[in-house]
């Protein structure tokens, strides 16, 4: 069975309710929609962030997301997936990433969305650089992100 899959990398913002509508409109097989939005924080461990610049590897970023979407579809009975990841300049409060999953029942949608987000963090080729008041620096990766995917491999 083929299901609607949308993967977009874009500089522009996205509208969460518009994307939900686009994925679910006119369908009666969907019982659950799970939405994850990742948003730019204004402050983290090292103080005030004024902006983020997201660099990505065109071509590979889409392919890598698609690879994990295929894995999620093979693992859970999902009926639709939308993933949007922004690149370029974002400021605190802006959207960065959207993961939408649909299924007949909630468990598949919850787990599929979480699986996709966990793998997106560690495998999709995006890099954040943070602008603070006085300096700009590349964000360090978190071991907790690598740890998060370990549970998907247990059994």
């Amino acid at each position: 069975m083929t299901i609607p899959i949308t993967i977009r990398l874009q500089q522009d913002d996205f509208d969460v309710s518009h994307e939900i509508r686009a994925l679910t409109h006119g369908r009666i097989d969907i019982g659950a929609v799970v939405t994850f939005s990742g948003i730019c924080r204004g402050g983290a461990e090292g103080g005030v962030i004024t902006a983020l610049t997201l660099e990505h590897y065109p071509g590979m970023a889409d392919a890598e997301i698609r690879r994990h979407v295929d894995q999620a579809i093979a693992r859970w009975p999902l009926t639709g997936v939308t993933i949007i990841h922004r690149y370029g300049h974002v400021v605190p409060g802006d959207n960065i990433v959207l993961v939408l999953t649909t299924s007949a029942h909630r468990q598949a949608a919850f787990q599929g969305a979480e699986f996709l987000m966990d793998y997106l963090k560690v495998d999709a080729p995006f890099w954040k650089s943070e602008q603070r008041l006085q300096r700009t620096s590349w964000v360090d990766h978190h071991h907790r992100d690598a740890d998060a995917i370990a549970r998907w491999n247990a059994t």
Partner: protein, 82 residues
Amino acid sequence: MKVIYFAWVRERVGKAEETVDPPPSVRTINDLIQWLVGRGEEYAHAFEKPVVRAAIDHIHVKLDASIVGAGEIAFFPPMTGG
């Protein structure tokens, strides 16, 4: 072959991409890194942290992967998207 760099690896190398022609003895990603490091300080600086990742033709690979037949090789830090 084409080699491309991202994030702080790109900043340290000082360029986003280049075409290189390593000798036949350079067979793996690790060999290529050592060969690049031998070309100048900027490469030594880029690869001094043992965390740099690699991809061949858009697929993540380990450092012992063969580069035979590779079209595009990318080097980058651990990813921080999402």
